[in-house]
Each structure stands twice: as structure tokens, then as C-alpha cells.
């Protein structure tokens, strides 16, 4: 595994460097623009939005839209704001992320260090499962959740996300562990260490970067999911995305764009935070794992 800070040794001229900085800054602007629009407009009173320039800074700054989106905006018939749904989303995302990461890690460990006949085919099958369009699973999944008596509940939703997350997490851990020296595992085996002991003492301690990748990927996907959330957990168990949709997509009445934007940023805050805080591990994890293979 290479060291993370190994920038390329290529030398460049001053003009080239100027061009590079310009290019990078232009793209940074492009990436920031949509979020910038949301942020700026979430801090304006509604009258400034309907009358004014989309990108202009607020003439009168206000945090009223944020307060409204969080605790008083109308979500359905109750003026609860997004707060209760935020908690629902956390209750759903955290267990689902942990479960799928643990199972993915174990799978990756088996598929690289305890190989057996047909393991490649099994891995191929797991991998292909990442590509199933979620729309086709709605109806049969609903039936199964109904049979298991967990339809419309947070545990049901956790199970759904867990099931469709395994493929990705297994992919990440398998590729990461493939680069891990098998000799260490064999040596431990000769010393009498068992299956789980080896996993716990040898594999896990060096899995930091890939756990970060798996966590970031799963958390983002699960937190942002709308289709499963709406279908399998609406009502009191509805996640944030469903509530946000109810806030933003109401078909009649005055559209409070500032409140919508504030709500959207709130809904995005946890994933943004994860990317910003854990982003550096993300590149490192990708580097060590999925890309090199």
C-alpha cells in the first residue's frame, strides 16, 4: 500500500500551474453553485426571492425559514417541521449501515482468505445484485415484509436497506482484503487462531480506511433513499426524504421556497458532514481497496 501523500513527481512550468489553478477553481465554482443557491435563498425572506435575483445575497438576512422548516412547517396535517423525521432517518440509517458493513466485512474476509470452489461465482452473483433496479423489487418486497409482519416499520426498512447494501459492502471489503497478505492469516492459523479470532485480531485492526469507504457509501445511499422510505415506512416512521418531499412537493398554495431550501439543506446535512469529515479517508480507502483490486 502506498503512502497517501505521494503526490506525483512531475514538474510543471509556472504558466501550466496558473492554468491548473484556474481550471480547478472554475470547477470548484461549478460544484458549489447549486448548493450556494440553496444556502443564499434559505436566508432570504420570501418576498426577496419572488422579486429578485437568484444568486444575489439577501438584503435582509433571516433565519426564520430554518426555524420553520425544523419545527413548525406543515408536513401533512401536522405542523411538526422536519424534526421528528430526522430522528426516524437516524434510527433507520445507523443500524442498516452497521449491519451491512459487518456482513460485508465478513463476506470479504471469507471470499479472499477462506476461498473454496465456486467462491468467484458467488462473488459475481453478489456483485451483480448491486445493479438491480429498485423499482422492480417494490411489490415482491412488500409482500415479504407483510409476511414477516414488519411492513411500515423502521425495522422493515432497515432490513430492506441491509439486503440491498450487502453487494456493495462485500465488493469493497473483498477488494481491500485481496491486497492483504494471506501469509499472515496462514501463520495465525498455524498458531491455532480460529476463524473469528483471525478476523478480529488481524483483519479488523487494519481495515480502517475501507470501513470508512463502506460507511460513507452506505450512509449516503440509505439516508438519501426515497423510494423504499416512502413505500415501506410512511406515516410515523417516515424518513427525512419523504418528509422533505411532502414539504417541497405540495401541489397548491404559496410555495415557501426559502423554507424548502432550508429543509433541503437540513436533510442533506448529515451526509454532507460525513463527506467533509471522512472524505480524506474515502480517497485513502479507495486507493487501498476498490481501485487497485
Amino acid at each position: 500500500m502506498a503512502v497517501a501523500s505521494s503526490d506525483t513527481a512531475i514538474r510543471t512550468s509556472r504558466i501550466t500551474r496558473a492554468f491548473i489553478y484556474l481550471f480547478l477553481l472554475l470547477f470548484a465554482l461549478f460544484y458549489l453553485l447549486p448548493f450556494g443557491i440553496m444556502l443564499v435563498n434559505s436566508l432570504k425572506p420570501l418576498s426577496e426571492i419572488t422579486g429578485g435575483n437568484m444568486i444575489a445575497l439577501p438584503r435582509e438576512w433571516t433565519i426564520e425559514p430554518w426555524l420553520s422548516a425544523w419545527s413548525t412547517a406543515q408536513i401533512g396535517v401536522q405542523p411538526t417541521g422536519l424534526r421528528p423525521y430526522f430522528i426516524n432517518s437516524l434510527m433507520m440509517a445507523i443500524p442498516a449501515v452497521i449491519l451491512s458493513t459487518v456482513v460485508g466485512a465478513l463476506n470479504g474476509y471469507v471470499l479472499t482468505k477462506w476461498r473454496f470452489r465456486g467462491d468467484t461465482i458467488i462473488f459475481g452473483m453478489l456483485l451483480f445484485s448491486c445493479f438491480i433496479p429498485f423499482q422492480i423489487v417494490l411489490i415482491p418486497m412488500a409482500r415479504i415484509l407483510g409476511i414477516l409482519q414488519i411492513a411500515g416499520t423502521t425495522p422493515g426498512l432497515i432490513m430492506v436497506h441491509f439486503v440491498y447494501g450487502i453487494g456493495f459492502t462485500t465488493l469493497y471489503f473483498r477488494n481491500y482484503y485481496a491486497a492483504f497478505p494471506t501469509e499472515l492469516v496462514r501463520a495465525a492459523q498455524i498458531d491455532g487462531a480460529g476463524f473469528f479470532q483471525i478476523f478480529w485480531r488481524i483483519m479488523l485492526p487494519s481495515s480502517g480506511p475501507i470501513i470508512a469507504v463502506s460507511f460513507i457509501w452506505q450512509f449516503t445511499n440509505i439516508w438519501n433513499d426515497f423510494l423504499f422510505g416512502a413505500s415501506f415506512a410512511s406515516g410515523d416512521a417516515a424518513p427525512m426524504t419523504v418528509a422533505l418531499n411532502n414539504l417541497v412537493n405540495s401541489s397548491t398554495g404559496v410555495r415557501e421556497y426559502n423554507v424548502h431550501f432550508a429543509g433541503a439543506i437540513m436533510a442533506a446535512a448529515p451526509t454532507l458532514l460525513v463527506y467533509i469529515v471522512a472524505g480524506r479517508y474515502f480517497v485513502r480507502g479507495l486507493m487501498a481497496g476498490s481501485v487497485k483490486g
Partner: protein, 416 residues
């Protein structure tokens, strides 16, 4: 007499709620999430709460209820249907055909629903002669909304024929205004199209093409002319119409940027919210050519098969509350629509509301009351959406009128 009925109904609600042992609950799936609508539904929740029935809210907004219908399918497949679901037209019939809806006959007979709900609505609230849904309102969709000040400025009288209508829009365009405020979304295009079909071909043609789906009518010269009128209207719409929400189009009329909008009576809510009064700052009249007829849609609460006895009682309490004159008035004042009951005095409603109620009764009596294709009350969703495809493709310039009529025939055939 109304007083008697009211008492009777209140008694029914009370009777139902007092027999409750445990806490009763209704779970309601709907897409009324905007401020005014949600407040209106809130009155229903409060009524039920007073009778000891709690309300588990399950709003799923978006796509004019299509997301809510997806969720419903998941819930029914899971064997866990909500108590009541906001639903439109043919969807009620489809769910009833699946055997998923409860039988409300006893309550309907006791409260005499059959006498107060127009037959055209009953066609959707009943399946196979049994009541399965409680209608909340009747929206009529063939309205023109106009800015009074702009009409005065341009010297326009209320147009009474298609030609006058076109002339009025020409005048607006010449003066630099947007003649027709419109949002380019399939259902909005289809809403206009309903009125064009009715205007060109009259009730019989509407019945033959939109309801009976007769291929000859669908491909006829009359249909071509309806499409040609769509092209005329397209010429009066501004360039930026594509994808615009209907309420933003309404705002154009409110702000005096645009002269007319063709839209259902929910548009009135926008004018009222903006502090305007019907008959003063804004006008409403039927789309020229469709006078004497009403194309409608009706929001109803379809009642699903719930097995638990306490849930069944709660469901009946809700159905009863939905049909109560108090709720029908309170809700429809907010929503801009008219009550599903015909026995409600119109004096609380504004000029447009009163006109709507009178014309609805008239049309119902004369056989001019038709379900709106654009809103799922003329044919099943598969056909409706196939029609959307053609109408919106034509409106966006992909087909000429002849091709559009021919495509309509094919699309409807594939969809059936």
C-alpha cells in the same frame, strides 16, 4: 330538514364513538400537504378527535398523487392497508375490482347518501351497487380565470364563443401581455384538451371519444379540429411555459402579466390567498364552447378493508364525518371546489363558487356532467396516460394535428 339530518348524523358519530372500547385510530393516506389543504384536512382530524378517534397521518406528496398510489400498492400487497385513502375516479373502481375496499352500504343507507350525491359521482363512489368511498368534493375543470383589470384595460368583454376568445387573446398579445398563462406539464395540457374536445364536438362526441374510446371518434376530423385549437392556444402561450407549475401560471394572471388561464377551480384558492375577490379583481367563466357542460373530478376517501373491529368502527366514523355538511362546507371553502352533496346551501361560497354549484346542478340535470379525462374520471389510468403522451407531444410540437389524432387511436389501442 337539513337540521334533522345534521342531528341524525351527529348522533351516529357519537353512537359510533361511544361504543369504542380501546382507543380508535384511522390511518389516512393522502397528498393534501400544502398549507390550505392540510388545514382543511385538519378540520376533519379535529372532528374525529372530538369523537375519540385519533388520526394517524400518512401524507405522500408529489406527482398529483401518483407517489401516494405507489405507496398504497406496497401497503396493500403487504396486507396492511391504510384505513382510508384519498383517491380519484377510476382508481377507486380498480381497487374495488381487486376486492380491496370496504362496504359502506349500511352507513350510506342510514344517512341517505344516495339522495344527496349526484349520480355522476356515485358512479365512482360505488362499485357493483355498493358504496366503497365517501366523496369529499367536486372540482370542475373547464374554467377560464381572467384578470379583470387587464380585461378592462384591453376593452374585452367576457368572450362567449371560441372566436371571441381567440380575439381577446390576440388583443392581449398585441398589447404585450401573455395571452394565456399555462404550465407545460402533461396533466395541464390535458386539462385544456378536455375543454377543446368538449368545445369542438359537444357532449356526445366527448362521451364517444373520451369515455367510450370509440376509435372512429378518436381519429375523426372533429378530433383533428380539437388538436388544431390546441395549436392555436399554443400560439398564445409564452416561451417559458415548459415544466411550469400551475400555481405559478395562476400567479401570472394574479400579477397582471397574463390575461387568461384555463384551469380547474382549485386555481381560485390562489386568487383568494392573494387577497383577490371573485367577480371583482378576477373573473371566472366556462371555457367558451363548453357552456352548459361541466367536466369534473372528485376527490374521495376510499375505505379499505380493515379487519379489526375497532378499526372498522373508526372507519365508519370517518366516512360519516367526511359526508357531514359541516366538513363539506369547511373543506370546500378552502379548496375552491364545491361540496359533493347537493343539499348544501351555497350562500357561504363566493361568486365563482355559487356559479359553480348552480352550473353543476344544471349540468347534472341536463346530462352535461362528464368526468374529466385529464383527471382520471373518463377512462382508466392506462388510457389516460396514453392520451397524455399524445396530447403533450403534440402541444410541444412533435406532431401536427392529423398525426396526433392518428397517434391517439394507436396509443389508446395499446393501452387497453
Amino acid at each position: 330538514m337539513t337540521m334533522m339530518k345534521k342531528l341524525h348524523m351527529t348522533a351516529a358519530v357519537v353512537a359510533l364513538s361511544t361504543t369504542a372500547v380501546a382507543a380508535q385510530e384511522v390511518e389516512v393516506l393522502h397528498w393534501w400537504t400544502s398549507g390550505g389543504e392540510a388545514a382543511a384536512v385538519g378540520t376533519l382530524r379535529d372532528t374525529l378527535a372530538a369523537g375519540g378517534v385519533s388520526w394517524l397521518d400518512m401524507p405522500v406528496a408529489g406527482g398529483g398523487g401518483s407517489d401516494a398510489m405507489t405507496v398504497l400498492r406496497a401497503r396493500v400487497t403487504a396486507g396492511d392497508p391504510p384505513t382510508a385513502v384519498q383517491m380519484l375516479g377510476f382508481s377507486i373502481q380498480d381497487w374495488a375490482a381487486e376486492g380491496a375496499l370496504a362496504n359502506l352500504d349500511a352507513l350510506a343507507a342510514e344517512q341517505g347518501w344516495g339522495d344527496v350525491v349526484p349520480a355522476a359521482l356515485q358512479a365512482f363512489s360505488t362499485y357493483d351497487g355498493h358504496w366503497v368511498a365517501a366523496p369529499v368534493n367536486v372540482h370542475s375543470t373547464n374554467w377560464v380565470w381572467a384578470n379583470t383589470a387587464l380585461m378592462a384595460e384591453l376593452g374585452i368583454e367576457q368572450p362567449t364563443s371560441w372566436d371571441e376568445f381567440v380575439a381577446a387573446m390576440e388583443a392581449a398579445e398585441a398589447a404585450g401581455y401573455v395571452a394565456l398563462a399555462h404550465g407545460g406539464q402533461a396533466w395541464q395540457d390535458a386539462t385544456i384538451f378536455d375543454s377543446m374536445v368538449m368545445g369542438v364536438g359537444g357532449p356526445d362526441f366527448y362521451q364517444a371519444s373520451m369515455v367510450d374510446l370509440d376509435p372512429e371518434a378518436l381519429g375523426s376530423a372533429t378530433m383533428v379540429e380539437a388538436f388544431q385549437r390546441m395549436e392555436t392556444l399554443r400560439g398564445f402561450v409564452d416561451d417559458n411555459f415548459s415544466g411550469r407549475d400551475w400555481n405559478l401560471a395562476t400567479a401570472m394572471v394574479i400579477n397582471g402579466e397574463a390575461l387568461f388561464q384555463i384551469m380547474g377551480d382549485w386555481a381560485k384558492g390562489e386568487f383568494v390567498n392573494a387577497g383577490l375577490t371573485a367577480g371583482n379583481e378576477f373573473q371566472c367563466f366556462r371555457v367558451p364552447g363548453t357552456e352548459g357542460t361541466v367536466t369534473f373530478n372528485s376527490d374521495q376517501f376510499a375505505m379499505f378493508n380493515v379487519t379489526d373491529a375497532s378499526a372498522q368502527e373508526a372507519q365508519l366514523a370517518m366516512a360519516s364525518a367526511v359526508m357531514s355538511p359541516e366538513f363539506q362546507v369547511a373543506f370546500n371553502l378552502v379548496k375552491g371546489s364545491v361540496p359533493a352533496r347537493t343539499d348544501i346551501p351555497s350562500d357561504q361560497f363566493d361568486a365563482c363558487g355559487q356559479m359553480g354549484m348552480a352550473q353543476l346542478a344544471e349540468a347534472a340535470a341536463s346530462g352535461g356532467l362528464f368526468g374529466s379525462m385529464a383527471h382520471g374520471h373518463a377512462n382508466p389510468p392506462s388510457v389516460q396516460n396514453a392520451m397524455y403522451d399524445v396530447i403533450t407531444a403534440h402541444f410541444n410540437g412533435e406532431y401536427d394535428a392529423e398525426t396526433a389524432a392518428a397517434e391517439l387511436v394507436t396509443a389508446v389501442e395499446i393501452a387497453q
